[in-house]
Symmetry: C2
Subunit: 183 residues, 2 copies
DNA sequence: TGTGACATGTAATATGTTACATGATTGA
DNA sequence: TCAATCATGTAACATATTACATGTCACA
């Protein structure tokens, strides 16, 4: 069961009845750009879920576009619950990915000028991302869903931790005691 | 250019000359389980890179296994540099993924008992992950590569932020009108 | 001498990406 | 009426996963 599948089931549970397009838009509104939320991923996925009996679809008769309103079945809810509870496994908890940190591991192979570019530019990008995470939090502030707010708050905390960390690296960079790496 | 490709080029740059197997093992040693580091991903990838002229391979004549020692070409180094500098783009900085947080957005759809299970179990998983991130940091402490140390430190900071955040959620959970479990 | 790590690779499968293609609906 | 948004979908392609398959090397 893929991450995207779990997320899509979750969005559907919160918005049903809604269209595949609506799910796509909800995914796109997230500050994270981890999924492209492309039509080529969403429509085939939803059709798979429907075929597997996790999702019900009814064509909206009053809409000539063939608008399909989707809802979760009982099996779909059970599957979503199963996905949720997998958060307790260490494998899921450790399947994080941070593309900036992945790159930072190899800073030692760059020359001093590139290192500066890297740190300055990625710090700016991280600050910009933090800003969008904060905006996302504001949107959820008056929502009745305090859990979604707390989840978004976690995103802000993590974004703050990333900015702080990159500032630490910058401080280290501007410290002259570090000799250049030999190549 | 995929994340895995960039990471593999980076590992190779730091360990060359080394085998594809060595790169796999280096990937596996990371506390993050984001990549499975399976043979089915690494060997085809390295062969693609070789074909593209980013990697050079020389068969070790003294080894009957057909051990191939890999090195980066100039084009490979340039490609790696390009990947590194892409950390400055907001798209890359925002392409983070946290499977526990993804799930936390949908806590509102769970019943109280499942919510408690979710929070208690994922807190334990996050603490366990934090521990492995700390161990990874210890390994890098006496390394001459201070940058890799700083990168791993970022991993620890983020893991700490995730634990702290889940504790906040737990506090919110037990503050609620829901009667507390026996403890 | 035997076991576990080293070493390379493929096959079937699943899933995601980009780009393309089409048309309806809504509101200024 | 016209443009932006809503809405569904496919095609070619790239890439990762799991499971399988084979054999060598180092060392106790």
């Amino acid at each position: 069961m893929s991450e995207l599948e779990g997320v899509v089931l979750g969005i559907l549970q919160g918005k049903q009845p809604c269209t595949a397009y609506g799910i796509r838009m909800a995914l796109q509104d997230s500050p994270s750009s981890f999924w492209s939320a492309s039509a080529g991923a969403i429509y085939p996925l939803l059709n798979r879920l429907e075929k597997a009996g996790l999702v019900d679809a009814s064509v909206d008769a009053g809409d000539a576009r063939g608008r399909r309103l989707l809802t979760l079945t009982a099996a779909g809810r059970a599957r979503h619950r199963q996905w949720m509870l997998s958060a307790g496994s260490v494998e899921v908890a450790s399947a994080v990915s941070d593309p900036v940190r992945s790159r930072a591991f190899f800073l030692g192979a760059m020359d001093a000028a590139d290192r500066r570019t890297f740190v300055d530019d990625s710090l700016q990008a991280l600050e910009s991302f933090l800003e969008s995470a904060r905006q996302d939090l504001v949107i959820r502030t008056d929502s009745e869903d305090s859990w979604a707010y707390l989840a978004a708050l976690g995103g802000v905390h993590q974004a703050e931790a990333r900015v702080k960390w990159m500032r630490e690296i910058r401080d280290h960079l501007y410290d002259d005691s570090v000799p250049p790496v030999d190549r």
